[in-house]
Every structure is written in structure tokens, then in C-alpha cells.
Symmetry: C2
Subunit: 201 residues, 2 copies
């Protein structure tokens, strides 16, 4: 049986597409945006709020006047969303082999009890490749420098990851396989992840 594959990715590295294609070839479910939907049902928060808060660093101050904050425990809506996402990720992983993108899924599943068989993948690429891919896929945003867009998104994901896991995003120790999609290309990344899953399966 294939492991649950978590995909961690730099913005613009093609991690989402690579994960989707891996799931398709291995004929297992793929979860990225779908987690938001399940999390919305689980937590009661609107999908838009979950999307906005789902991979950003916690900032307790701005939530202090939010009605559902549990003042006693200083648990912000973002914390509640994280915990709901955590439950959703655990439930999904227990259902069987699948591909899950981001949302600290590597950390959450690594310490699951009872243990869940999983393999953690990091997809990265140099700025040049990421810029090209982002412009092709999302187009330009008026007045916003592409380098700043990349840096901001990466920074948010890193901060979110660090806040909830106390680990450094991008530390090679967290991943079983790290791939440079800029150098290798998306097709080779998909192939190597599938081969790894088959051999571990």
C-alpha cells in the first residue's frame, strides 16, 4: 500500500500540479483546496476565512475583538482553524493512501498516534523558474513586483509552519525527498515521487 504523500512547496514551484499528477497516476485521492471545504464543515468557519488564515502566521492582536476568541486560552480563530485542519488531515490520512498539499501536513502526520505510513516531499525551484511559472499561471498583478509576491507568500507559509510546528520550513531533515522542479522539470518530479511511492508501497 502506498504511503500518504505530503507535498510541501515553494510558491510557484509547481508543487500543486506535481502532487495532483502523482495522485492521478497512483490512482489515489488528492487534497489541497478540498481540505478547506471539509475544514469549513468541521469548524463552522466560512471557506473564505479558512483560505485566508489557512497558511498564514498567527497574529493574535488582530483577532482580539473577534467574537469567537476564547479569551481564557488565548486561542485565536486561526488556532481553531489550524486545529480543525489538523483533524481533517488526520481523518483523510486514516482513510488510506493519498496526496496532501501543505498545511503542516508533514508535521501533523509524522507524529500521528497510532503511526501512519507516510512520505514527505519538498518541491522547490529557483526564482527564475518560479517567476516564469507564476506569470504564466496567474498573470501579473498591477503594481506588485513579482519578486515581492514570491517572497511574501513564502514568508507567510514559513511563518505559519514555524508557528504551529516549532520547526523550520525547508529544513531538509523534515523531508524524505526534496526535488528541484526548476532543474528537473515537473514530469521528472512526478516520475520520481511515483517511483518512491511504489517502492515504499
Amino acid at each position: 500500500m502506498y504511503p500518504v504523500i505530503t507535498i510541501n512547496r515553494e510558491f510557484g514551484s509547481g508543487g500543486h500540479s506535481i502532487g495532483e499528477e502523482v495522485a492521478k497516476r497512483l490512482n489515489i485521492p488528492f487534497y489541497d483546496g478540498q481540505i478547506v471545504e471539509r475544514c469549513s464543515i468541521e469548524s463552522g468557519y466560512a471557506k473564505e476565512i479558512i483560505e485566508e488564515q489557512g497558511e498564514q502566521a498567527s497574529n493574535s492582536d488582530k483577532w482580539f475583538n473577534f467574537p469567537s476568541v476564547s479569551y481564557m486560552y488565548y486561542q485565536t480563530p486561526q488556532d481553531e482553524i489550524y486545529l480543525a485542519q489538523r483533524r481533517v488531515i488526520m481523518d483523510i490520512a486514516k482513510e488510506g493512501p493519498c496526496v496532501i498539499v501543505g498545511r503542516c501536513s508533514d508535521y501533523i502526520l509524522e507524529y500521528a498516534n497510532p503511526p501512519i505510513k507516510c512520505a514527505h516531499v519538498l518541491i522547490h525551484a529557483d526564482y527564475e523558474h518560479r517567476e516564469k511559472r507564476i506569470l504564466e499561471k496567474y498573470g501579473e498583478v498591477d503594481g506588485v513586483d513579482i519578486k515581492k509576491r514570491i517572497a511574501k507568500k513564502d514568508k507567510q507559509r514559513r511563518a505559519y509552519y514555524h508557528y504551529y510546528t516549532d520547526r523550520s520550513w525547508g529544513d531538509y531533515n523534515n523531508y524524505n525527498l526534496s526535488l528541484d522542479s526548476g532543474k528537473l522539470g515537473e514530469e521528472l518530479c512526478v516520475y520520481l515521487i511515483c517511483e518512491m511511492a511504489k517502492k515504499l508501497g
Copy 2:
């Protein structure tokens, strides 16, 4: 034609054995200790000195009374050895596809002019796997804690790498493929590196 494959490894992760097996399967030369021999001829330094200084951080002070130090430029014997190793690595890589272990070879070849087609691999593993492997391969050293041995060797390599490249050893941006040999096992690492080389070739 396969790329030149550089292997960077944590002490005890099996990087040497993995690289050797990759070279065997791809039928290309393998260079680790052999670099020392060529470097000895190139630089005039004894093999033992090159081995000792080959992957350790520079420490100018202790060399200050060494007869061949070029006082004018503060170039230590270690710097001379680094430069000789650099020349040897460049010469080897120009001869055609091969596997080269450590010695900042990823950095040296990445910026070669004219460019050399290469792929940079990192092999790592958790402490538990590395401890087991080191004890099996090298045995115990009386009175020296295994964790301290690992930490010291890693620290030396990191410091050496940082000193001569001004980059962080282990930063995923430096590698096209990073593999956790503890989780994947040596055989799967060899297989994935060979597949990468064939598809890039």
C-alpha cells in the same frame, strides 16, 4: 550523456556507498578518496595532510609557522589544498560524466565556466540510522560518544563548506535532489539517483 553527479552527505548517511553504487550502475567513474591522490600530485602536499585538511574549516592561526604559508596573501596550506582540489575536481568533471563525493564539488561545478552539466544530490538520515550505520561500519571509538562523533564530523564539513563557498551546507536550494537514506534505504536512493541521471541524460 549523464550529468556529473555530486554527492553531499551527512556523516553516516551512506552517501559514499550510495555514490559508489550509482557510478557502478551507470558505468561511470567514482571519485572520493581518489581526489586526494590526484590533489597530492597537483599540490605537492602529502596525502595524509590533504585528508586531514580536505574537509575541515580553515584555521589560519595554527598554520602561521608552517613554512609554505604565503605571508603576503595569508594563504594557508588549507587554502592551497582547497585550490588544488578545486582544479582536480574541474579537470575530472571535464573528462565526462562521473560521481564526485563532497569537497564543495557542487559549488565548484555549479559556477564552472564554460558550464558543466551536473546534478547535485544530498544524502541525509536521522541520528538513529546514522549511529547504527557508523557502529556497523567503523565500530566504536573508546571513550567517544557516538552522538559527539557525528556532530563533530558534520560540524567540520559544514564549516569547511561555508568557509570556501559562503553558502550554508544543507540549504535545499543547493541541491537538485535530496534523499533521506534512513527512511528510503540505500537501494531506493541509488535507484532514484540513477533514474534522475538517465532522464536528465
